[in-house]
């Protein structure tokens, strides 16, 4: 479903600040794969996300979505195939617009936007049904402005907006990191439920090791722009946070350095 081939990204090439953010990354996600990504500071996790979404053009390498070469597509074109939830709960929704209007915009993601009403009776009914699955009571507040919602509610709405059109790829960029523990818990379980029910091909970056172990069928660990460790299926299920740290030390010969890492 998603194939990343030999991607390299260098920032500030030829200056003292030169930084190899990604160094020849290869990764392939099968349909329905749920991959969690962990890594130390500056490992290139966010850059990888941005290369896939089209925010950052890679120096070399290819990105294929569903067999289609998309590396030259600008971000807005690629996002027809990609649902994305950002770390900042404010980033995924438009605050002065209503819940139904936000959902209508997400609904138009993989269609051509026309001069037809964005919110219709029929769509409202559909939005209501989708909102019910969140169990937050948002289905009764369709015409409330999103700016009035709490951070957790907004992130839940963002998650719904990113997933209910069933995109080819779902990108989750530390989407629970800015929430308090109970809200993060809620979003994590919603994520698990949504991905399980719709079988979306998902790539999730997280700082929470336990979350990376609990969710998904595959796990990759990145360091200095490379994928240094990978586990899937049963091998992943047997992993623990300690084992992960040991793996890192064995491969890199140094301590896992991530001041934001949550060891679980």
């Amino acid at each position: 479903m998603l194939k990343i081939a030999n991607i390299s990204v260098t920032f500030n090439e030829g200056t003292l600040d030169e930084k190899k953010a990604l160094n020849g990354i290869n990764l392939e996600l099968e349909l329905g794969d749920f991959v969690t990504v962990i890594g130390s500071n500056g490992a290139g996790k966010s850059t990888l996300m941005n290369v896939i979404s089209g925010n950052i053009p890679p120096d070399v390498g290819d990105v294929f979505i569903d067999g289609k070469q998309v590396v030259h597509f600008p971000e807005y074109k690629r996002s027809a195939f990609i649902g994305r939830v950002f770390q900042d709960p404010m980033a995924g929704t438009a605050p002065t617009m209503t819940i139904e209007e936000n959902l209508a915009m997400a609904y138009s993601r993989n269609k051509r936007r026309k001069l037809k009403m964005g919110v219709t009776k029929k769509r409202k009914e559909m939005f209501r049904n989708h909102l019910k699955t969140l169990n937050l009571g948002l289905e009764d507040r369709l015409s409330a402005k999103v700016g009035l919602l709490s951070g957790g509610e907004r992130q839940a709405l963002s998650l719904l907006m990113a997933t209910f059109t069933e995109p080819n790829i779902l990108l989750l960029d530390e989407h629970t990191a800015a929430l308090d523990p109970s809200r993060a818990e809620l979003i994590t379980s919603l994520t698990e439920k949504v991905v399980r029910e719709s079988g979306l091909t998902t790539l999730m970056v997280t700082h929470n090791m336990q979350q990376a172990l609990d969710l998904g069928n595959r796990l990759i660990m990145m360091d200095k722009g490379q994928i240094i460790f990978e586990a899937q299926g049963e091998a992943k299920q047997e992993l623990t946070v300690e084992r992960l740290m040991q793996e890192f030390q064995r491969i890199r010969g140094e301590q896992f350095g991530d001041d934001r890492a949550v060891l679980g």
Binding site: S53, E75, Y76, K77, S79, A80, I82, R84, F86, M90, A91, G92, T93, A94, P95, T96, M97, E101, A104, M105, A106, S108, R109, N110, R113, K114, L115, K116, M117, G118, V119, M161
Partner: protein, 330 residues
């Protein structure tokens, strides 16, 4: 007094179209577009030149709208594709338009006094309906002696402006319109929802300036001339209308906000007319009056809000001390 008030409402309704354009960029797209000062004149100039050359007035007015649309699109292009700062791209376009407008006019002022305009056509049609006689008869029973030349312009323009308002309301609720609004609200998000923000911005600024030019073309025809300097300060007048309207009528929904903008434009004209009746004020003071009105409309509501909040807290405090007062002083 009645005649000048009537004139204020009449031109206010036409300026409201310009204010709707300013609302689209300033509020919906969050794009402070200064092209307005130029595109307003472009509208008047294109209409005047076309009319003088024998183009039917309605068609001439449509040409004006298209010219404004193109000017706005260029500003949008500068900003999105050229990555020029929003304010600067407007200023650059406004400056360029000054020369372009002068070229279109061929001289600083082009008169349409002896030409047939949309309004002369409208007035002659309107006088056949006999509505004027009826209304003026009604006014004379109230003791008025001087009557407006025609009621036709104010009625028809009110209908035109309201139609533009409803079309705008509808447009902003369509799938395209929702994406347009999201640009001013959360650009990154709407891009991640597969909307081409560059093209939407270009079209949005284009539509805005199309409306501004339409308003300019109509104001030019109402006054019977197009002048290269008639657009100076137009953006501030547009902002004044938007801000006054919002302060007085609120912005709860799109339909409410656009109605507020139209109301704001008319009230602005009335305020200016009243101000000019004050003896020591001159025509030249108008810009300052405008600036003061805008400042007042911006700062006024905040001060009121702060006072209300202060009062509320005072009341709370008094209540609390009244409740515990007995115990403390016992």
């Amino acid at each position: 007094m009645f005649i000048s008030m009537f004139g204020a409402v009449e031109s206010g309704v036409i300026y409201a179209i310009m204010a709707l354009g300013v609302y689209l960029t300033f509020r919906v797209l969050d794009f402070p577009d200064l092209t307005v000062d130029g595109s307003f004149v472009t509208g008047a100039a294109v209409a005047a030149l076309s009319i003088v050359n024998g183009v039917p007035p309605v068609l001439a007015t449509i040409f004006a709208l298209l010219a404004g649309f193109i000017a706005g699109c260029i500003t949008g292009l500068l900003h999105t594709k050229g990555k020029v700062n929003a304010l600067l791209s407007g200023i650059l376009m406004m400056t360029a338009l000054y020369s372009i407008n002068l070229r279109i006019l061929g001289q600083p002022t082009l008169s349409m006094l002896n030409e047939s305009t949309v309004f002369t056509q409208l007035s002659s049609f309107w006088s056949m309906t006999g509505i004027d006689t009826a209304l003026n008869g009604l006014l004379s029973t109230l003791g008025l002696e001087r009557f407006p030349k025609t009621w036709g312009i104010v009625f028809v323009m009110l209908v035109v402006t309201i139609v533009i308002k409803f079309v705008t309301d509808y447009y902003l609720k369509t799938e395209v319109g929702l994406a347009l609004r999201a640009i001013g609200d959360n650009k990154r998000m709407i891009r991640s929802l597969s909307a081409n923000t560059d093209n939407l911005t270009i079209v949005g600024v284009g539509i805005s300036n199309g409306l501004v030019a339409l308003s300019g073309a109509l104001i030019g025809q109402l006054g019977g001339f197009a002048d290269v300097n008639m657009g100076i300060g137009m953006i501030v007048i547009g902002l004044a209308s938007v801000i006054i309207g919002e302060a007085l009528f609120g912005t709860k929904t799109i339909a409410r906000a656009t109605l507020a903008v139209i109301g704001g434009a008319i009230i602005y004209r009335i305020i200016v007319t009243l101000a000019l009746r004050v003896d020591f004020l001159e025509t030249g003071d108008m810009k300052m009056i405008t600036a003061i009105i805008v400042i007042f409309a911006l700062v006024g509501p905040r001060i009121l809000q702060m006072r209300k909040e202060k009062k509320r807290r005072m009341l709370k405090r008094q209540q609390l001390s009244a409740e515990s007062g007995g115990k403390n002083h016992a």
